[in-house]
C-alpha cells in the first residue's frame, strides 16, 4: 500500500502500527486482544459506526447530551427573559392585552430552546471529536470506503510484536509508521 499523504499534516506524528481489515469480526478480535494487553489508546477507523467494534472498544456514553440539555435550558430562559423585559422596557398596549402576556411569548421561548439546543450540541461534537481529537495519527483513504483501520501507538522496539498480533487477528495490511 503506497503511503498516502495524511489528511492533516500533523505537527508531530505519533509513532505506531496501522493495520487495515476487511472483516469486521477480525477487527473486533484484534481490538479485544490489544485491550487485553492493556493497549487502550487505540484509534479505530470505519466508514460507518459498527456495533461489534463499539462493543469491543467498550466506550462510555458521549457527554454531548449534557450540552444539549444546557443549550435547551439557556434558550428557554433567554426566550422568556427577552420577551418579558423588552415588552416592559417601553410599555405599549396593543389590542387591550396585558403588557407582558405569557401565551404568545411561549412560542418565542420554544423556538429559542430548540435553536440553542441544536447549535450547542453541534458545537460540543466539534469540540470533542475535532478539537480534542487525536493529532498526528496516520490515516488511509480506504477507511472511508470499505476497510476498517486500527492504529496502535507504540515504539519501534515493540512494533514487531504488535504487527504480529494484528496479522494473527486477520489484518490484510500492517505497517509501522514512525
Amino acid at each position: 500500500m503506497a503511503a498516502t499523504k495524511p489528511v492533516k499534516a500533523p505537527s508531530k506524528r505519533v509513532p505506531g502500527v496501522l493495520a487495515s481489515f476487511t472483516y469486521v469480526d477480525a477487527a473486533a478480535d484484534a481490538i479485544r486482544a490489544l485491550r487485553a494487553q492493556g493497549r487502550r489508546n487505540l484509534t479505530v477507523y470505519s466508514a460507518a459506526p459498527n456495533h461489534e467494534i463499539e462493543e469491543a472498544l467498550q466506550h462510555g456514553v458521549s457527554p454531548v447530551r449534557l450540552f444539549t440539555l444546557i443549550g435547551g435550558l439557556t434558550g428557554c430562559a433567554a426566550g422568556f427573559g427577552m420577551t418579558l423585559w423588552m415588552s416592559h422596557d417601553w410599555p405599549t398596549v396593543v389590542g387591550g392585552k396585558p403588557i407582558g402576556s405569557i401565551p404568545p411569548y411561549v412560542v418565542i421561548a420554544f423556538e429559542l430552546t430548540i435553536l440553542l439546543g441544536a447549535l450547542i450540541t453541534v458545537a460540543a461534537v466539534a469540540f470533542f471529536s475535532v478539537a480534542l481529537g487525536k493529532r498526528g495519527v496516520p490515516y488511509d483513504p480506504s477507511f472511508s470506503d470499505d476497510k476498517i483501520g486500527i492504529f496502535v501507538p507504540t515504539t519501534a522496539d515493540s512494533a514487531r510484536q504488535v504487527e504480529q498480533m494484528l496479522r494473527n487477528a486477520g489484518a490484510e495490511e500492517v505497517r509501522y509508521e514512525a
Partner: protein
C-alpha cells in the same frame, strides 16, 4: 432488515455509485440549471419593479391585502416539512426506508425554507427595512411586538432554517470525507475543507451518533411547531375562514403532504438521471406513498371539519365565508384544492398506484398544484369576504405576482440542482451502516 428490501451491494459499491453521481454534468443538467437561473432572474427583475414603484404592481385589491406572495410563502414553508420529518421523525422511529431518500429530502427542505424566507421580505411595503422585525437595539428605542404572529414567524422560520441546515451539514460530514478520499485535484481541496478533518475514528463516531440522535429529537418538535406557527399567522386573526382552532394540525398535515408531493416530483426523475434506481426502489416509493395517503386523508378530514364547524357554529360570518368558498367567486379554486388534495390522494389506497412511478409522478404534480391552491383559497377567498360586505372585492393577480412566483421556483431549482451535482444525494454512511460488513467466520453477528 426491513421486509421487501435487500441491499445487494458492498460498501465499496455504495461509495462508487454515489461518487458516480458527481460525475461531470450532462447537457440536460446544464439546460435545466440555465432554465432555473433564468426563472430566478425574472423574479429578481419583478422584485426591482416592486422596490422602484411599490407593491401596486401586484394585483392586490383591498380587502385582499395578502395574496399570491403569502400563498407562495406558505407553500414553500410547507414543502420544507417533508425533509425534516423523514430524516428526524422516521430516524427516531428507526424506520429503515428513510435512509435512501432522507438526504435528498433534507436538501429540499433547506432550499424550500430558503425560498420561503424571501417572501416575508418581498411582500412588505418597505422591503428595505424588513430587519425592523428583529430585536436589536435601535435608534427607535423600540423592540418588536412579540404578541404579533409575524414575529413568531421570524423566530420559527429562522430557527427552522438554522436547525435544518445544521442537520443537513452534520449528516454530510462523513460522506464528504468519503468523497474527499476519492476526489483528486482542486475538488479534493474543497471537499477536504468541507470534511472538517473527519476520519471516522471510533471517538468521532461515538459523539457523532449521539449528537445525531439529539438533533433528531430536537428537530422533531421543531418541524411540528414551525407550521403550527405559520398557521397561527391566520388562526389568531379574527378573519372568518382563518380564525379556527383546527389550523395547527391541519396545516402540519398539509405541509407534510405537500412536502412529500414535492419529494416525489423531485426524486422520481432524479434517480433516473443519477442512475441510482437500485438504491431508491419501489420499496421507498411505496412507503412515501403511504405517508402521502395518511396525510392526504388527514386533510380530507380537516376540509370536512372546516365546513361542519362553519355550519354548526351558527356564526353567519363563518357560514358566509365557507358558502362562498364553495359556491362564490372562488368556487374554482376551492374545488381545485379539494379534488387535488382530498380526492386524488385516495387513489393511493391501491398498491398498483403506489408502486407505479408514472402514476405517482402525476399524483405528485396534482398535490403540488392542490396545495398551492389550498393556501390561495384560505388566504384570498377568506379575505375577499369578511365582516363588512361593502368592502368585499376580488383579486386580479398580475405579472408581478406570477413573476415572483416563477422566481421562487427558479431560486429553489437552482440550489437543488447545484446540490445534486456536488454532494452525495444518497447518504453513503447510513447506507453502509445498513449493509452487513463481510465476516471471515461468515454468517451474521
Amino acid at each position: 432488515m426491513a421486509s421487501g428490501h435487500v441491499i445487494t451491494q458492498t460498501h465499496a459499491d455504495v461509495t462508487r455509485d454515489v461518487v458516480g453521481t458527481l460525475s461531470p454534468p450532462s447537457r440536460g443538467y446544464v439546460l435545466l440549471l440555465l432554465g432555473a437561473v433564468s426563472l430566478f432572474l425574472i423574479g429578481i427583475l419583478t422584485f426591482l419593479f416592486l422596490i422602484k414603484d411599490g407593491l401596486g404592481h401586484a394585483g392586490y385589491q383591498p380587502p385582499i391585502f395578502w395574496s399570491v406572495y403569502i400563498t407562495t410563502f406558505v407553500f414553500w414553508v410547507g414543502i420544507g416539512h417533508a425533509g425534516t420529518l423523514i430524516s428526524a421523525i422516521l430516524f427516531l422511529f428507526r424506520s429503515p426506508w428513510r435512509t435512501a431518500v432522507y438526504r435528498s429530502t433534507e436538501a429540499m427542505t433547506v432550499f424550500a425554507v430558503m425560498t420561503a424566507g424571501l417572501f416575508p421580505i418581498i411582500h412588505i411595503g418597505r422591503q428595505w427595512i424588513f430587519y425592523w422585525l428583529l430585536p436589536y437595539p435601535n435608534s427607535r428605542f423600540l423592540w418588536p411586538n412579540f404578541k404579533s404572529p409575524l414575529i413568531w414567524d421570524v423566530f420559527a422560520i429562522s430557527t427552522y432554517l438554522t436547525v435544518s441546515t445544521t442537520f443537513l451539514c452534520f449528516g454530510l460530514v462523513p460522506d464528504v470525507a468519503a468523497i474527499r478520499d476519492k476526489a483528486t485535484g482542486w475538488r479534493r481541496k474543497v471537499y477536504e475543507m468541507a470534511a472538517v478533518g473527519w476520519r471516522g475514528t471510533d471517538n468521532q463516531w461515538r459523539h457523532y451518533s449521539r449528537a445525531y440522535l439529539y438533533l433528531a429529537a430536537l428537530a422533531t418538535p421543531l418541524v411540528l411547531s414551525v407550521h403550527s406557527v405559520v398557521s397561527w399567522d391566520f388562526a389568531v386573526s379574527i378573519v372568518p375562514g382563518w380564525h379556527g382552532t383546527i389550523f395547527a394540525p391541519y396545516f402540519v398535515a398539509g405541509a407534510i403532504y405537500s412536502g412529500i408531493g414535492m419529494v416525489l416530483t423531485l426524486i422520481i426523475p432524479l434517480r433516473r438521471a443519477l442512475r441510482i434506481e437500485h438504491m431508491i426502489t419501489d420499496y421507498h416509493f411505496d412507503n412515501l406513498a403511504k405517508l402521502t395517503l395518511l396525510t392526504g386523508s388527514i386533510l380530507f378530514y380537516a376540509y370536512g371539519m372546516e365546513y361542519f364547524v362553519a355550519w354548526y357554529s351558527g356564526n353567519i360570518f363563518e357560514q358566509t365565508t365557507f358558502f362562498r368558498r364553495a359556491f362564490g367567486p372562488y368556487w374554482w379554486a376551492g374545488w381545485t384544492m379539494i379534488i387535488c388534495n382530498a380526492f386524488v390522494s385516495q387513489l393511493l389506497w391501491f398498491r398498483k398506484v403506489r408502486t407505479n412511478l408514472t402514476s405517482l409522478f402525476v399524483i405528485s404534480i396534482f398535490i403540488n398544484i392542490g396545495m398551492w391552491f389550498e393556501r390561495y383559497v384560505i388566504i384570498v377567498s377568506s379575505l375577499s369576504n369578511d365582516y363588512i360586505p361593502w368592502a368585499w372585492d376580488q383579486l386580479n393577480p398580475t405579472w408581478a405576482d406570477w413573476g415572483i412566483l416563477a422566481g421562487s421556483f427558479g431560486w429553489f431549482g437552482m440550489w437543488f440542482l447545484l446540490f445534486a451535482k456536488n454532494f452525495p444525494i444518497v447518504a453513503i454512511q447510513e447506507i453502509k451502516e445498513m449493509i452487513p460488513m463481510p465476516r471471515k467466520r461468515g454468517g451474521h453477528h
